[in-house]
Point group: C2
Chain length 449, copies 2
């Protein structure tokens, strides 16, 4: 490449191709990303840990391995940002809380192991809110530093949006991938529950925790998902299954134009005027390929089920922090744990039992008529102020029922802030959701021409 500094703007897939062809080195790519970090990080604050020399050394090792003719993985030489609740053996993992300051895990999380096996270079650790809950970290929205980047995967979304890294991992227990992706204007992907293993990641809630991805292209989402999906014996919610050719499926044309269900959700009243107008326009543009669908009546209770499960499971998972350091937790987290400790087993089980039933309703919806659900990713653009990471309400349903969800950076609101579109798919049909998303994106692009 003539000017390697431009390499930071490449997608992961494009950069990986150039590296494979010998037209770009991993060191060059990582240098370009670090250069971009030096320029932008002071304003955005996306990183919890970034050691330039360490990253460069790993990049040089990747290049060395190429020169020696070793087989090259799909992410060979590609820098990736890792949310700081995901364990890395060579970098601290502090979970966004003073209680875990200086924590240095001995082992990589399974997703990190898989990334490294595919040749990726872990660039650094990205800022998370406190324990991936609500209390914000230092990160700001790259589109306007007075606005929140969203959370809890704040640093991953901002770093990808600002071009500091092409790919980053996050996690979602309510709206922690889809919301920051929408606020920062990048693709965010929360796969089917259990598709990507959570071993070695701070556990909030076994029922609700998902690993998620951030990228600037759909192809990159497919590329990373293909490497990360699959059974892990230490995550009881993963299942042995055949390797899914994400990239191939995502790149295919749908056999016929998809049919989209536009779902306002019972939280539509929270949608901003801007969001309502934007969706009216979007639905108009999709014409007969979209129909408004009202969910089953009990869906309105799902937020309560989600709250009950999240509070109860977090209270169980944070027993130690509660016992030894609750005075050093934020008030919000402390209050959540306090509520969680009082949840009755009866209400907890009742909420859990609703999931399977609701999943059947969605199966019906997807098998009988619709390829995907179209719904806002958030009530509006990133709110002003850094005290809150915004409202996850438009993500709660899909997290609770474990459906795959994508945030697509298709629209803009006032002051040019990104306005996210969320596309939700059938459980275990993640690759097909990416295919439908690609169709939607090109359809909208065609409309705009």
């Amino acid at each position: 490449m003539a000017d390697e500094r431009q390499a930071a703007e490449l997608s992961a897939a494009a950069a990986a191709r150039l590296i494979r062809e010998g037209a770009l080195t991993s060191e060059g790519l990582v240098r370009a990303c670090l250069e971009r970090c030096r320029e932008i990080e002071p304003r955005v604050q996306a990183w919890a840990f970034l050691d330039e020399e360490h990253a460069l050394a790993r990049a040089r090792a990747a290049d060395e391995s190429t020169r020696e003719g070793h087989p090259v993985g799909a992410l060979h030489g590609i820098p990736v940002g890792i949310k700081d609740i995901i364990d890395t053996a060579d970098m601290p993992t502090e979970n966004g809380t003073v209680l875990h300051q200086g924590r240095t895990p001995r082992e990589d999380a399974s997703v990190v192991t898989r990334l490294r096996a595919a040749g990726a270079v872990i660039l650094g650790k990205t800022v998370t809110t406190e324990c991936a809950y609500f209390h914000p970290g230092k990160t700001r929205n790259p589109h306007n530093p007075e606005h929140t980047p969203g959370g809890s995967s704040s640093g991953s979304a901002a770093a990808v949006a600002a071009g500091m890294v092409p790919l980053a991992l996050g996690s979602q227990t309510n709206g922690s991938v889809i919301r920051p992706a929408a606020f920062c204007g990048v693709y965010g992907f929360k796969p089917t529950h259990g598709l990507i293993p959570r071993t070695g990641i701070l556990a909030l809630s076994r029922t609700l925790d998902h690993v998620g991805l951030f990228a600037r292209t759909l192809e990159d989402i497919a590329l990373a998902a293909e490497e990360l999906a699959g059974y892990d014996e230490h995550d009881p919610d993963t299942r042995p299954r055949a390797r899914i050719p994400f990239r191939e499926i995502a790149a295919e044309e749908p056999p016929m134009p998809p049919m989209i269900a536009f779902v306002k959700t019972p939280y539509w009243e929270r949608a901003s005027e801007e969001t309502r107008e934007a969706f009216a326009e979007l639905v108009g543009a999709l014409g007969d390929r979209v129909e408004e669908v009202e969910l089953f009546r009990t869906a309105a209770e799902a937020w309560e089920w989600h709250r009950t499960i999240m509070e109860a499971e977090m209270a169980a998972n944070f027993e130690r922090e509660w016992q030894y350091g609750r005075d050093r937790l934020s008030e919000k987290l402390r209050a959540l744990l306090e509520r969680g400790r009082d949840v009755r087993a009866l209400d907890y089980q009742r909420s859990l039992s609703r999931i399977l039933v609701a999943q059947e309703s969605f199966e019906e919806l997807f098998t009988q008529r619709y390829d995907a659900i179209l719904t806002p990713a958030a009530p509006g653009t990133a709110p002003k102020g850094l005290d809150s990471t915004g409202d996850p309400s438009f993500c709660t349903l899909w997290t609770l029922f474990g459906l795959p969800a994508l945030s697509l950076p298709l629209m803009r609101g006032a002051e040019g802030l990104p306005l996210g579109v969320q596309l939700v798919g059938r459980r275990n049909f993640d690759a097909r959701l990416l295919r439908t998303a690609r169709w939607l994106v090109s359809r909208i692009a065609a409309e705009e021409d």
Copy 2:
């Protein structure tokens, strides 16, 4: 057979052989069992539902099928008693509570389907305590009608012990198979959690509920287990696995004499003087093949974990009964549900999380040295009186951790009442536990000669 009335004394395996050979008809066998019922039932009261004509019709149908040359299952023509919490499409299933009086399920439980597929004739429904919890049904101990038969599978244990049926199904959530088997002096088998599906059976606690078996020989236990084990898509705790040749494994000689761990459990203080003496003698007779083993320290807390899980899950499963008919439940069950409704999700999850850890400790014990654990099945012989079904404490551990357990009718206490020996095996090595049990039984028989 010369005198078909003696057929009631046959084991299921022996009767099945005679039927296959044409030396006995299913009708003859069922008549013999019904004859025995007519004689003994007034005193023992093992049956909740018994329709002679219906049973005979099914037996004649089995004989007809043989005559027509249809393939013959392993239990062809064999009468089986079914605990009245297990659904049968052709007989009522009243769960031992007035709240479900007249309940007639539309479908067979999976275990009933499997029995019928193997050719079995469902003789009738056996008495259960109220909802398989503590409040006794009408059944009396066949060895002495002033003593409890144990519970909650009271009728199944008593019917098999009294020779009214060679085989019966029960269930165990705490000590509901092992205890009545011990009190009535028959073999009782509670397999590994998840080995036999519970679809179509009154649910008390997903974590603790097991299907169990009663028979008068170990061979019959193996015969029935082989037909009943296996994956069922509606029981999430069953797993697809290869068919286990229970009868073959159970009949084999162990490659070397088994090593037995004698475990007194933290509840040894409850063991009667008689039990202590009997076990001292038994341990003495086994010589160097037995060693006393003390469990890990936290095992003492397991009864508390069991209580928390059972109360919490029963409260969730009996919401409807609580809401619409709690005044018609026994005081004991009502009190349990009341406690269960107050269990905190935190304590419930904490208790659940202990199970996996403890299971690992047992794996170690079994893989490193011991083939089975020897322990009492109950504190002593069946207590006098019919107000209580006795103390399940010696079963709680093995139920909680899902280990396979057998009650062996090897000893007798005062007044000739049976004194049960319990043998516990490694998870998922159920057939091998039967093999070890066969070794133990013949070893003790040899000692007695």
